[in-house]
């Protein structure tokens, strides 16, 4: 049996997220000229507005792609159906990309992938920067059978649609999207390079495959041997990028 305070807190929380509880409305007086029901509405209306603001900050590109009407309505529906469980408002929305995809699959099939990219960016934005090896130290340490250890602020993402370009699209560009803007798979590397800014780089499939092998801890020679379609020049370019991006923090040699 909940105490009066516990019951009130359950009723108020449920009323803010969902429908106003008549028991709560019956136990209060409205402030100003508000009726009790109107006073509860103040809190009910503030809740989706606050959650929408948080979702809008994290999923800014999804907002631009969908437009105000669709995005804001989606936020409102999501807020009413998925309560926040964190003390941190910016943690809200981990399942929002999937929610958007289910809602807008027919005319924006890329929206789930774009949302995942934005969520990953948000996570990496708050991740601790790592101190990567300098290109000089890396080239001295690395052998053909070295295992490369990557920093924590690195994410390799694989998407069914091309979303990096949509994410970086100029905010003032309101020209309609073509299917060619999003059709096709895409591999994106998000990373910090010593400092706090987050960078992104799209990778060709062989590059991504090689990188994934390296992330899994396979020695360099094995990862390169397993890569299909990665010619010598491409391998050299990939290693040069790894070296300059500062995402390798340690080299382990047998």
């Amino acid at each position: 049996m909940p105490s009066p305070l516990e019951l009130l807190q359950q009723q108020f929380t449920a009323s803010a997220i969902g429908e106003a509880d008549p028991a709560l409305v019956g136990g209060i007086r409205g402030g100003g000229k508000l009726t009790p029901a109107e006073a509860v509405e103040v809190y009910r209306n503030a809740y989706p507005a606050r959650m929408t603001e948080a979702l809008g900050e994290t999923f800014e590109a999804c907002w631009r792609m969908l437009g105000d009407e669709d995005f804001l309505e989606a936020c409102k529906v999501y807020a009413r159906s998925v309560p926040s469980q964190s003390h941190n408002l910016s943690d809200y929305g981990s399942s929002f990309p999937e929610f958007l995809l289910n809602r807008f699959r027919s005319h924006a099939p890329f929206i789930g992938d774009l949302g995942c990219l934005e969520w990953s960016f948000k996570e990496l934005f708050h991740a601790a920067p790592h101190a990567g090896l300098t290109p000089e130290n890396l080239s001295v340490a690395v052998k053909s059978n070295s295992v490369l250890i990557f920093g924590s602020a690195v994410k390799l993402l694989s998407f069914n649609h091309k979303v990096d370009g949509l994410w970086k699209r100029d905010r003032s560009d309101d020209s309609p999207l073509n299917r060619s803007d999003w059709e096709g798979r895409e591999q994106v590397l998000l990373y910090k390079s010593g400092g706090t800014p987050v960078f992104s780089r799209t990778l060709a499939a062989p590059e991504a495959s090689t990188l994934r092998s390296l992330f899994e801890g396979r020695p360099l020679d094995q990862a390169l041997a397993a890569a299909e379609g990665l010619d010598e020049a491409a391998a050299r370019n990939l290693f040069q990028f790894l070296s300059e991006a500062g995402i390798v923090v340690e080299v382990r040699n047998p």
Binding site: V40, D91, F125, P129
Partner: protein
């Protein structure tokens, strides 16, 4: 620079918002003496926000102000919250750690709002138990802020100021007196704002907040979307005369002005305090 005969100038700070990061990193000359950071914005971040916070801490004292402690919640603070807060405190060494006298949800759901408590003995016991746990864990006192409210409970057994003071006295916590919130709630619920602030013992006040509300026509809404209004400045005059050394904060969260615009309000708070200090005792 306005000071009283003792050379005193009000200790005025402003809420730290990311919109002002570029201006602040340029290390402007300013009469703003400290900043208040929203704890949750930095507790879970090891990235750019924390980097900026540490840089600002090199030049200014900081206060930490939370919005999700849910000190009035029957379930108490959420798991992991206090550990993260303690780690942040260790990093920036704030001179005040505060949150709101409210609850923010139930059954693990957080509505991210400052929901008012009923002014009952049960609520006092709940808050006091939570404050004791928090203060024991953090190893320091906290301050609790009175919130603006848009409803009152039929079940309340006392006035809000009696509730607030009882909690502070029984738990050992301090009071962050939000002058704007007093005015908003007084207007909404028809009590005397002056009587409310006069009922708060000076020795319990750790900090003052000043902000702007929105007049919605049928109630006042605590939006922090504008400068403090004249009635709030009047109430501030009344309080700062009694607690001249207490840190004062200008809060602005929506329609945030540029740095100079925010600083103007801080300078105004300093000027009003100087006028008050100059009055005969």
């Amino acid at each position: 620079m306005k000071r009283d005969a003792a050379g005193r100038e009000a200790n005025v700070g402003v809420g730290l918002r990311s919109a002002h990061f570029p201006a602040l990193l340029g290390r402007p000359r300013t009469r703003v003496r400290w900043f208040e950071a929203i704890s949750e914005n930095y507790m879970d971040s090891e990235g750019r926000p924390l980097e900026v916070l540490k840089k600002i801490r090199e030049d200014y004292p900081l206060a930490l102000h939370g919005v999700s402690l849910s000190i009035g919640g029957v379930e108490g603070p959420r798991p992991g919250y206090l550990e993260k807060l303690k780690r942040l405190i260790a990093r920036v060494d704030p001179f005040v750690v505060s949150d709101h006298l409210c609850f923010t949800g139930a059954h693990a759901s957080n509505v991210h709002d400052l929901l008012p408590l009923p002014y009952t003995e049960e609520a006092i016991r709940t808050v006091v138990a939570n404050v004791s746990r928090v203060q024991d864990f953090l190893g320091r006192p906290i301050a609790l802020e009175n919130v603006s409210s848009y409803l009152t409970y039929n079940a309340s057994e006392m006035k809000e100021e009696e509730f607030l003071v009882a909690i502070a006295k029984r738990s050992g916590c301090k009071i962050l007196l939000d002058v704007n919130n007093v005015y908003v709630s007084a207007s909404n619920h028809g009590f005397k704002a002056e009587a409310y602030v006069d009922a708060i013992p000076s020795e319990l006040i750790a900090q003052l907040h000043l902000g702007g509300y929105s007049d919605m026509g049928n109630f006042l809404f605590d939006t922090h979307s504008r400068a403090p209004t004249d009635p709030v400045w009047d109430l501030y005059r009344r309080v700062i005369r009694r607690v001249p050394d207490v840190p004062v904060l200008i809060e602005w969260d929506e329609a945030i002005p540029n740095w100079e615009g925010l600083e103007t309000e801080a300078v105004k708070a300093i000027g009003i305090a100087a006028e008050v200090y100059a009055l005969p005792a």
